[in-house]
């Protein structure tokens, strides 16, 4: 299960968050934990360079793209390598939508589109689509090209 997908800006403010299978009372704890993790480790990290951490049986893979930090939390079958796949799908789609590593402003400009991409990639904690071309077409309600 992919437990959380979270986008934050440089100051650690949440831009988008999606939790799945996480009780509401634990979300705040995770939000602040992830933001702190980013503040401690993401300084000077190159775009899309993956960082990884684990806590008990939960894995966290996170990175930075432009002004946006991206965190994915998973457990069970979504271990660090599966999450790397998920975050790769997300960063590719994000670059595709924004045309480049986004500034915060650009990210917010494309907010609706990004929400749609995320909806195609992760659905209620399961990975659904990985290919950016396909994601782009699906967000426009176009069938995938290979079909």
């Amino acid at each position: 299960m992919i437990l959380a997908v979270l986008f934050a800006n440089v100051e650690g403010n949440i831009l988008i968050e999606r939790f799945s299978g996480v009780p509401a009372e634990e979300r705040l704890h995770w939000r602040s934990f992830l933001v702190k993790l980013g503040a401690d480790n993401l300084k000077g990290v190159r775009n899309e360079e993956l960082l990884v951490a684990s806590h008990k049986s939960v894995y966290i893979v996170y990175t930075v793209l432009g002004d946006v930090s991206i965190f994915i939390v998973g457990k069970d079958e979504y271990d660090e390598l599966a999450l790397a796949e998920v975050i790769f799908a997300i960063t590719s789609a994000l670059k595709d939508v924004c045309g480049k590593p986004p500034t915060e402003r650009l990210f917010l400009d494309k907010y609706g589109k990004i929400c749609l991409c995320l909806d195609e990639i992760v659905w209620k904690g399961l990975l659904e689509n990985t290919d950016k071309e396909r994601v782009r077409r699906l967000t426009r309600l176009k069938p995938p090209t290979e079909f």
């Binding site: 960082l51 951490a53 684990s54 390598l81 402003r105 400009d109 309600l141 069938p143």
Partner: protein, 886 residues
């Protein structure tokens, strides 16, 4: 289609403060929602409003029931628009709003229409939305369409239906299970993701049918999974089949060859999954491990942090059970100590600490010292714990390890980190006698500058117990007395108690201690003053060099043998009166300690909770429980407690299980009893034990439970004496005896008169293995050689005809109750000979090592050569006696 909210060009990107959502307000956005009701819909404008709604929801704004309903109804109007981009946004916002069941009906018909639409993408999205908001009754209506969708030729539609199936399986399993045939067909799909999703769903549908999962895996391992993701799932399912068949099959593992072939897959994800699956096989042999370790070793030098992390984490796990298998990777791991990712570096260090040998300890410590300064406390704690285990493994290296611990103790750090270090030093002092004096001095120096009251008091308490037993107790007095001057009241009180302990134990120091204690009589804190006065009065001799009486020592060193809960209850019930509170009136009975409770079924962890505290060690808990019963105090130190043995069937009126506690000359049975009948109260519950088949044992006492109300576990104990140094075995038949009283279900009160009754329990055996503790060694050969052959005893035995070698090996392991080492409990199929290595600690804390060599001939007769080495000749002989009589 979603458009940017504000027309802009890229120059605006530099304006960091500018946000298209600047000043956004929920009230205003809710007003804007009205545009959804316009007769002439403007798709662009509507998309913008939906985006704003999404932004608000993502920022943690919540809509009241009325607001949400209003928005939801307005959104449903948007189904009139044919604009694709807007429709896509509508699907998304409906999912986000999660309408309540009475509202869902409004969109159901629109969504059902979309679900049968000719536009494929409408179908896919409508399925996802419907499955998100649907309930059981609606699901039966749309089931037919969903089944069709699973085999739809458009992969997006099929995937949408399959993933919906995975979610719906949690809420409506009986419906989803009916889709099995369609899902089976989808597993054969040529579309990679469809196959991946179908495989996941099919396995979940069939997870309780072992044979079906096994067939599924067999058929798929022959073909090819079309994506690395599906291949990873297949590896997981294959290892599940291996795990489940481990108990029933002997010989070659099924699917091992498949796992091994996956190590050569081109996707790293698959290689890692296979390697990890192999390392986690139960009883994995070195031969099986080698290719997996080699694959993981290559990942250690990967440029991708995720791969390095995954590999070092997997190797860290292997190192716990097979440290020797990982030693080849040590050089690669040493280079990871300087890895930028601190998680990777910490895992590398702790793995090295597990796999390193005695000669590499010093070099390793040097590297770690540099590393410690730049990691966070939580990582430091992991390292400290690893160092503690290393020190216990190589006691000769205590000097450098203790030095390391005391150095880091002086550096900056939080409470948990400091506590971990102090705990480690205390454990080392306890287990390595040579380390005691230097360790105590390190602790003394630490409290000179310790900012944590809790740690200071703990150390002072420990000093009071251990300090007086050293060769020169006087050197600690200065450190302790300094606390009286420089600390807060809690620490001062602890220091006074510690001083008193020195005074009580070391008669020669008594006059000086009296002088120091008298200086505390006028302390500003009443607790410190009270303690001082108490000790000055009880130590006796008015400062003379005289022996302290036993009563005072009990006061200072004795444990409070009353459960604190009982004391608290009694104190609360005590009403101030002329009569002083009498501590002897407090019950010493331990109430309901559910030590052997069955696992709560079906409780799934949420995964992301606050970290669960690990369960306290069961042996410690038993030790504490037994030490609260004064009758058992003379039995000495508890050697071993068995796992609970059930003496009743499940679902009976009274549930009883028993734990066997083994002491040097005694055996105590702890019967954990639960009364499962609400209308009954049991009193004076005891177990009558018949010893006719246990000649070596003599019952010395029986301790009944006074009262056993419904569903509150209680313990009754029966203790037996047995000859020292003899592995007495026997069979005990047990009968539960009690007085039963009826309970009025309305008032919950029991009747006054009860009836005596009995209840037959299953028999219980004490076997030779009960006197042996399973304690493994990391390197059997080293341990064997260092033990020496002084007390070696070798003999040969014929075990008679057996099914195969594996059966013979497991029978001997069970008979001796020892820990198999280095995976030697696994016997290769069809092999004619096998060597098995065992290690354990025998009653009296005698280490024992056993080397078993088995051979089987054509007529399946098994012969065994048993070589035993131990620290005591009598124990070596006993092991042979156990085997010859077993």
């Amino acid at each position: 289609m979603a458009q940017p909210l504000v027309k802009k060009d890229d120059d605006h990107d530099d304006e960091a403060d500018y946000s298209p959502f600047l000043g956004i307000e929920k009230g205003a956005v809710l007003q804007e929602v009205r545009v959804f009701n316009d007769p002439q819909l403007d798709p662009r404008r509507c998309s913008q409003v939906i985006t704003k709604l999404l932004y608000l929801l993502n920022q943690g704004d919540s809509f009241s029931k009325n607001e949400a309903t209003e928005v939801f109804f307005s959104v449903t109007k948007l189904f009139q628009s044919k604009d694709l981009g807007l429709r896509r946004m509508v699907y998304l916002i409906i999912k986000e709003l999660s309408p309540s069941s009475d509202e869902v009906i409004i969109v159901t018909s629109s969504l059902m229409k979309d679900m049968n639409s000719k536009t494929d993408m409408y179908r896919a999205n409508a399925i996802r939305v419907l499955c998100r908001i649907t309930d059981g009754t609606l699901l039966t209506q749309i089931e037919r369409y969903l089944k069709q969708a699973i085999v739809d030729k458009n992969p997006v539609v099929a995937s949408a239906a399959l993933v919906s199936g995975i979610h719906l399986l949690q809420t409506n399993p009986e419906i989803v299970k009916r889709w099995s045939n369609e899902v089976q067909e989808a597993v054969q799909s040529r579309a990679a993701l469809v196959q991946f999703h179908a495989l996941a769903l099919l396995q979940q549908i069939r997870q309780n049918d072992r044979l079906a999962v096994s067939k599924l895996v067999t058929s798929l391992t022959k073909g090819t999974a079309r994506s690395p993701l599906a291949q990873c799932l297949l590896i997981r399912y294959a290892s599940q089949v291996i795990r489940e068949s481990a108990n029933t099959q002997t010989g070659d593992r099924p699917f091992y060859d498949f796992l091994e072939s996956c190590l050569r897959h081109k996707a790293e994800m698959v290689v890692f999954e296979a390697a990890r699956a192999i390392t986690e096989l139960s009883g994995v042999t070195n031969r099986e491990l080698t290719p997996a370790i080699t694959a993981l070793q290559l990942f250690l030098s990967s440029s991708k942090p995720v791969l390095r992390f995954a590999a070092v984490r997997a190797l860290n796990k292997v190192a716990m059970t097979h440290p020797m298998a990982v030693t080849n990777c040590n050089i690669d791991m040493e280079s990871l100590i300087s890895d930028q990712n601190r998680s990777i570096a910490t895992l590398a260090i702790t793995t090295l600490l597990k796999t390193g040998n005695e000669s590499s300890v010093d070099r390793l410590m040097k590297q770690i010292t540099n590393f410690m300064s730049d990691i966070a406390d939580e990582f430091k704690i992991v390292v400290v714990e690893a160092i503690r285990s290393l020190c216990l493994k190589f006691p000769l290296k205590y000097r450098s390890l203790m030095n390391f611990l005391s150095n880091i103790l002086r550096e900056e750090g939080g409470f948990d980190y400091k506590k971990a270090i102090v705990d480690s030093i205390v454990i080392l002092i306890r287990d390595i006698p040579e380390a005691k004096e230097s360790g105590l001095l390190q602790l003394c120096e630490f409290i000179e500058d310790c900012e944590f009251t809790y740690l200071s008091t703990q150390i002072l308490h420990f000093l009071g117990n251990e300090g007086p037993k050293t060769t020169d107790p006087s050197k600690y007095i200065r450190y302790i007395y300094n606390r009286v001057h420089l600390e807060n009241a809690t620490v001062r009180a602890a220091a006074v108690s510690t001083l008193a302990k020195f005074g009580a134990m070391v008669d020669a120091l008594k006059p000086q201690i009296f002088v120091l204690l008298r200086r505390c009589v006028l302390d500003s804190d009443d607790e410190v003053r009270d303690r001082t006065t108490l000790y000055l009065n009880t130590l006796g001799g008015d400062g003379e060099v005289v022996e302290t009486d036993k009563e005072t020592k009990t006061l200072l060193f004795g444990a409070l043998d009353i459960p604190l809960v009982n004391l608290e209850t009694s104190l609360k019930n005590y009403e101030p009166s002329e009569e002083p509170f009498d501590i002897d009136s407090v019950s010493k009975e331990v109430k309901s300690q559910p030590l052997a409770e069955k696992k709560a079924p079906g409780k799934k962890p949420t995964g992301l909770g606050a970290p669960l505290a690990g369960p306290p060690s069961t042996v410690d808990a038993y030790e504490r429980l037994l030490s609260t019963i004064p009758e058992f105090l003379d039995f000495g130190k508890l050697f071993k407690s068995s796992a609970p043995v059930e003496l009743t069937e499940a679902e009976t009126e009274y549930a009883v299980n028993v734990v066997k506690h083994i002491f040097d000359r005694h055996v105590v049975f702890q019967y954990n009893c639960t009364n499962t009948i609400p209308e009954q109260l049991l009193e004076n519950v005891s177990v009558i034990v018949d010893l006719s088949e246990a000649d070596d044992f003599a019952e010395v006492l029986s301790k009944p439970v006074r009262s056993l109300p419904y569903d509150t576990p209680g313990q009754t104990f029966v203790a037996f004496e047995k000859p020292e140094g003899i592995t007495a075995v026997g069979k005990f038949s047990n009968t539960l005896r009690f007085i039963v009283k009826e309970v009025d279900p309305t008032t919950g009160e029991a009747e006054e008169d009860g009836v005596e009754d009995e209840y037959q329990l299953e028999d219980l055996e004490v076997v030779a293995a009960d006197y042996m503790m399973k304690v493994g060694v990391s390197n059997f050969r080293n341990a064997w050689e260092s033990m020496g052959d002084d007390f070696e005893h070798v003999d040969e035995y014929g075990l008679g005809p057996r099914e195969n070698l594996a059966e013979a090996v497991s029978a001997v392991i069970n008979l001796l109750g020892m820990q198999p080492c280095e995976g030697t409990e696994v016997v290769a199929t069809n092999s004619r000979s096998h060597t098995c290595l065992l290690s354990g600690v025998f009653l009296g804390n005698v280490r024992v090592l056993v080397r078993l060599q088995f051979g089987i001939d054509g007529s399946r007769d098994v012969a065994m050569k048993l070589a035993v080495r131990s620290e005591d000749e009598a124990v070596s002989d006993t092991i042979h006696e156990i085997v010859s009589s077993g």
